[in-house]
Each structure stands twice: as structure tokens, then as C-alpha cells.
């Protein structure tokens, strides 16, 4: 940069730096400082109050011996796998089928995405009623003349976590559809022409050419859903509140409960720091991959 231009721009640059100051403050002291502070507390023996008495990894050892935390982690993995798989399959199928020059495309799209606009609390309550054995689907089918029909996952220790998967998929599949459809519509027309000329069947074209071409958007959708999985809280609170028993407890709920109800700060921060590490393990490789891809394209 040449000297005179730099000099000329300097007053404006000072104002620009000043304008960014509050945000820099938030990043430094809330995001980085806050996460660091919480991590530091997780190495102390704090319970109701913060005590700067460092005990190494004791809180983590206690945390991973906690049955409720073990169940929470297990639930997060089961939920995460099923929810991401279900949303991907449903969302991609919807996008591909909508892409078949169907009539009323915008009506279908509007229907598949409206649930995404509603609150997780609303989603949880809605599905709690639909799946309630004495009110919802089970009750309706029994009234139709199938008195032995049973669909009581929501009150079953073993199956309850899958009802959360149903509710979350209902909420989130539309997002996958939107992201995938935007990707499909962005595919170069030349690629389609070449596939037509070669006589490649439609399903093969999507599965082996189009979807791999838009893998960037699909990976982005998966990363976003993974974040949602780690944050999962509201739907569970509204739908089952962790029950029956502790069948649908999740890590984010463990943190909130230990922080505000059980007042065990050390354990809560150990749990939340574990979540942060899990998130970083997903986001950092993804961010690096994205950057490498952009460099290669540029």
C-alpha cells in the first residue's frame, strides 16, 4: 500500500476500528474469556460458590462416573445419529422430488419448511400430544377398531429418545431440503446436458453425480445439525423433560440442571467444557476443510 493513500485513509480507519471495538470486546471477554473462565472453574472443587481450589481432573472423573451424564452422552449419540440420518434422507429426497418439475412446487416447499419457523418448545409440545398414548395416534387407531394397536414410545424407557428424533426431524428436515435444493439448482446446466447425452438414468445421475457435486452444501447441513444435536435442550424439556425416568436426558440439560437446580458449578462447567471440546472437534476440521476448498477454487 502506498504511503500517501495510507495517510489519507487514516482518520476513517480510526473510526472503523473504534466501531469494531464493542464487538472485539465481546469476542475477547465473553466468547473467549467466558469459555476460558468456565474451563478454569471446571478444574476447581467449586460447588455452590466458586472456590479457586484446583483439583485437576477430579470434576471430569466424577462427571464421567455420573450415571445421568453417561445416559445423556449415550442419548446424544443415538439421537444425533438418527436425527441427522433421518433429516438428510427425508430432506434430500424432498429436494430431489421437488426438482422433478412438479406442479405446485412453491406450495410443497412452503409446507415442508413451516415447522422450521416454530419454536422448539412448540415442536416438543405438539409431538408430546400427538404421541401421547391416551390422546394421540395410539388412541385414534384403537378407536378405529384395532384395540390392541400399541404406539407408546414416548412413555417407554427404551424408545422415548426416538420420539425426540421424530419431533426434531419434523422441525429440521425442511432446512436440509432448502439447502440441498439450492445446491441442486446451482449445478451447471452443462453437467445435466452431458448426463442426458450419455443416457444416464435420472436416479443414477442424482446419486452419483449431482449429490457428490453439492457435497459442500450437504456437509454444511450436517455440521449445522451436529451443533443442534449438542445444543439439544428445548425440545426435550417440552416433550419429556428428560423422562420417563432419565431415558431422554441430554448433556445440555445436565449443564443447566446442575448449574441452576443442583448448584454444582464445578460439575456443570466440566460438562459444558466437554461439550465445547466436542463442538470444536467437529467445527475446526470443517472450517479448515472449507478454507482449503475455497483456496482450491480460487
Amino acid at each position: 500500500m502506498d504511503e500517501t493513500r495510507y495517510f489519507h485513509w487514516r482518520p476513517g480507519r480510526a473510526a472503523a476500528a473504534l466501531a469494531l471495538l464493542p464487538t472485539a470486546f465481546v469476542v475477547l471477554f465473553v466468547f473467549i474469556g467466558g469459555a476460558g473462565w468456565a474451563a478454569l472453574v471446571s478444574f476447581t472443587s467449586s460447588r455452590m460458590l466458586t472456590i479457586w481450589n484446583f483439583v485437576g481432573f477430579d470434576q471430569y472423573a466424577a462427571l464421567f462416573r455420573f450415571p445421568r451424564w453417561q445416559v445423556s452422552l449415550e442419548n446424544m449419540v443415538i439421537f444425533g445419529f438418527c436425527f441427522i440420518l433421518a433429516s438428510l434422507v427425508l430432506g434430500i429426497l424432498l429436494a430431489v422430488f421437488i426438482d422433478q418439475k412438479v406442479k405446485g412446487e412453491s406450495v410443497f416447499r412452503t409446507i415442508y419448511l413451516y415447522s422450521y419457523a416454530t419454536s422448539f418448545i412448540v415442536v416438543g409440545l405438539v409431538w408430546r400430544w400427538i404421541l401421547d398414548p391416551s390422546l394421540g395416534i395410539q388412541h385414534v387407531v384403537r378407536d378405529l377398531g384395532f384395540p390392541s394397536f400399541t404406539f407408546d414410545w414416548i412413555v417407554s424407557q427404551k424408545m422415548a429418545i426416538f420420539t425426540i428424533v421424530i419431533a426434531a426431524t419434523w422441525h429440521g428436515a425442511g432446512l436440509v431440503m432448502v439447502i440441498t435444493l439450492a445446491g441442486i439448482r446451482g449445478v451447471d446446466a452443462e453437467i445435466w446436458k452431458a448426463l442426458k447425452v450419455d443416457g444416464v438414468p435420472n436416479w443414477k445421475a442424482y446419486l452419483f453425480v449431482i449429490l457428490p457435486t453439492i457435497r459442500g452444501s450437504i456437509v454444511t447441513a450436517v455440521v449445522l445439525m451436529t451443533i443442534g444435536v449438542v445444543r439439544l435442550y428445548d425440545i426435550v424439556v417440552a416433550m419429556t423433560n428428560g423422562g420417563p425416568g432419565s431415558a431422554t436426558e441430554v448433556p445440555a440439560k445436565f449443564v443447566v440442571d446442575n448449574l441452576f437446580e443442583r448448584q454444582n458449578i464445578g460439575l456443570a462447567t466440566a460438562a459444558s467444557t466437554t461439550l465445547l471440546v466436542l463442538i470444536l472437534l467437529v467445527v475446526v476440521p470443517w472450517a479448515l476443510w472449507q478454507r482449503a476448498r475455497q483456496r482450491r477454487m480460487a
Partner: protein, 296 residues
């Protein structure tokens, strides 16, 4: 009529073969899956309790009534108070309006400073800010409660607005940074050559061009803030609990028999604002979530 419409290339794709039938079949069955809960909520909220006890869930109400909606709005109970959802609605408005105005204003200025003013630390700051979008809320609960309590912002309106603004800084900044970066750079340079400073360039050149992105950001921010539950629960204090928290409290406060009709009416009332925004804004909403989907 244009030539393109008259000479379709390839076989007519709309011929109704088994494949077309399968496509529409799948789309319609999926549509039923997505719409069924909304339908159940609407019809149940319009039925008297008598009908819910004996009738089928999917049946159209025989004697439709608005009484459950009125009860949900004005007299449903949360714990000992029986004031309905109207208090929560007002609180959500009090929280959403200042959060949206502040977050969008700061996001705009950030986006402008980061995209057009090549500052030395700007890419580092932006990268760190984006990473902030991925931090689970729960990680920052403990430090935020302490920090806000220290300045008297915990458990009141200022507290929840501050937290709402902080957590939406990354996405709002991202939206406007990408938008300003997509505008022709010459516009900015021309104003600079005329000697306009940072703020004047923004006011006279950038702000007038920001309309479309402000709409997108507004849709995204209002929807997200309205739908938030856990931030309101933790940071708003008893006086300013948002509608989602009040809704969950109403449903979990039962005296005797569950009033499904009133509870479903309350749920629909809470979903009304974001759904109205969604159905009115259409493509703008999609633009917002595509650009700001980071905030799941």
C-alpha cells in the same frame, strides 16, 4: 407465446406414468406428515373438552368454540398467577424489539467496517466472531450470569436483551459483511474520494443500499428471538419471562384434568408470530436461514 414454450425438448415429463405418480405420492405423503400436527392443533383448540374426551383427535369440531383461545390468552394459570399468555406476549415484544434493533444496527456497522475497511486485525476478529457462533449457549451460562450480575443486568430486561444481542452478533455481522462485500466497491471508493469519513460514507452510501439485507436480518432475528426459550428462562428474571417460557409453564401447571384445547390454543398463539412472518415473507425467510443458518 415464445418459441421455447412451443417446442419442448425431450419427452413430455408431465405424462402421468407410474414414476410421476410415485413422485407426487411421496410429496403428498410427506406434506401430510408435516401438516398433520398443525391440523390436530387447530381442530383440538376449537373443541370443547367434552368433545375431546369422547371424540377422535382428527375429527372436525362439531361445536367449534373460541373459549379455549380466550382462556389461553387471558386467564390460563402458571403456578399461582392466572393471567394467561398476554403477559408473556408483551414480554416477548419488549425483548424482541430492542434486541432486533440493536443487533441489526451493530451487525450492519460491523459488516461495513469488516468488509470495506481493510483493518489489520479484521480477518482475525471476524474468524473469532464466527467461531463464537458455534459455542453452545450452555458453555457461557455460568460466566455470563456472573458478568451480568456484576453490572446489575442479571434477571431483568436489560440482561436478556444484552444476551440476545451478544449471541446474535456473529450471524448479524456475517449477513451484512457478505452483503456489503457483494456490492460494487466503486460506490464506496467514490464516497471516499469525495472525502467522506467512516460514518458519513456509511450513512450516505451504504445505509440506503442496505434495505434488502435489513429485511432479511429482521426476519431472522425476530424469529430467533421470539422462539428462544433457554436464554429467556435463565436471563430474563420472573418479571420478563418470554412467551415460550410462559407457554411451557402453563402446560406444566395442571389442576385436575388437562385442558388440551386451551393448551393447544396457547401453543398456536405462541407460534403465531413466527408463522405469520414465515407465510408473509416467503422467499425472504429462506434467504435468511440460508445465509444465517449457523444459528440453529
Amino acid at each position: 407465446m415464445t418459441a421455447r414454450q412451443m417446442v419442448p425438448d425431450g419427452p413430455r415429463p408431465t405424462a402421468f406414468g407410474p414414476a410421476r405418480l410415485g413422485i407426487y405420492g411421496f410429496l403428498v405423503v410427506s406434506a401430510v406428515f408435516f401438516l398433520m400436527p398443525l391440523y390436530v392443533m387447530i381442530v383440538t383448540s376449537l373443541k370443547p373438552m367434552e368433545e375431546i374426551r369422547h371424540g377422535a383427535l382428527f375429527a372436525w369440531p362439531a361445536n367449534p368454540t373460541l373459549a379455549p383461545w380466550i382462556e389461553a390468552w387471558s386467564s390460563a394459570c402458571t403456578g399461582l398467577k392466572c393471567e394467561g399468555l398476554k403477559v408473556g406476549f408483551a414480554n416477548s415484544v419488549f425483548i424482541t424489539v430492542p434486541s432486533a434493533v440493536l443487533a441489526i444496527t451493530i451487525g450492519m456497522v460491523n459488516g461495513y467496517a469488516l468488509s470495506l475497511w481493510r483493518l489489520r486485525w479484521s480477518s482475525l476478529l471476524f474468524g473469532a466472531l464466527l467461531m463464537g457462533a458455534f459455542i453452545p449457549y450452555q458453555v457461557l451460562f455460568f460466566p455470563l450470569v456472573r458478568m451480568l450480575a456484576a453490572i446489575g443486568f442479571f434477571g431483568n430486561l436489560a440482561g436478556i436483551v444484552t444476551v440476545q444481542v451478544i449471541f446474535s452478533l456473529p450471524v448479524m455481522t456475517l449477513l451484512f459483511r457478505n452483503y456489503y462485500a457483494s456490492l460494487p466497491y466503486d460506490l464506496f471508493k467514490a464516497a471516499r474520494v469525495d472525502g467522506a469519513g467512516f460514518w458519513r460514507t456509511w450513512r450516505s452510501v451504504m445505509l440506503p443500499l442496505s434495505g434488502p439485507m435489513i429485511v432479511v436480518a429482521l426476519i431472522l432475528k425476530v424469529t430467533n428471538t421470539w422462539n428462544d426459550y433457554v436464554l429467556g428462562l435463565v436471563f430474563a428474571g420472573h418479571r420478563y419471562l418470554p412467551m415460550t417460557v410462559e407457554l411451557n409453564n402453563i402446560v406444566n401447571t395442571t389442576h385436575g384434568e388437562r385442558e388440551y384445547n386451551m393448551e393447544m390454543a396457547a401453543t398456536l398463539l405462541t407460534a403465531l408470530v413466527p408463522l405469520a412472518i414465515y407465510f408473509v415473507s416467503g422467499r425472504w425467510f429462506v434467504r435468511g436461514i440460508a445465509a444465517g443458518a449457523v444459528k440453529g
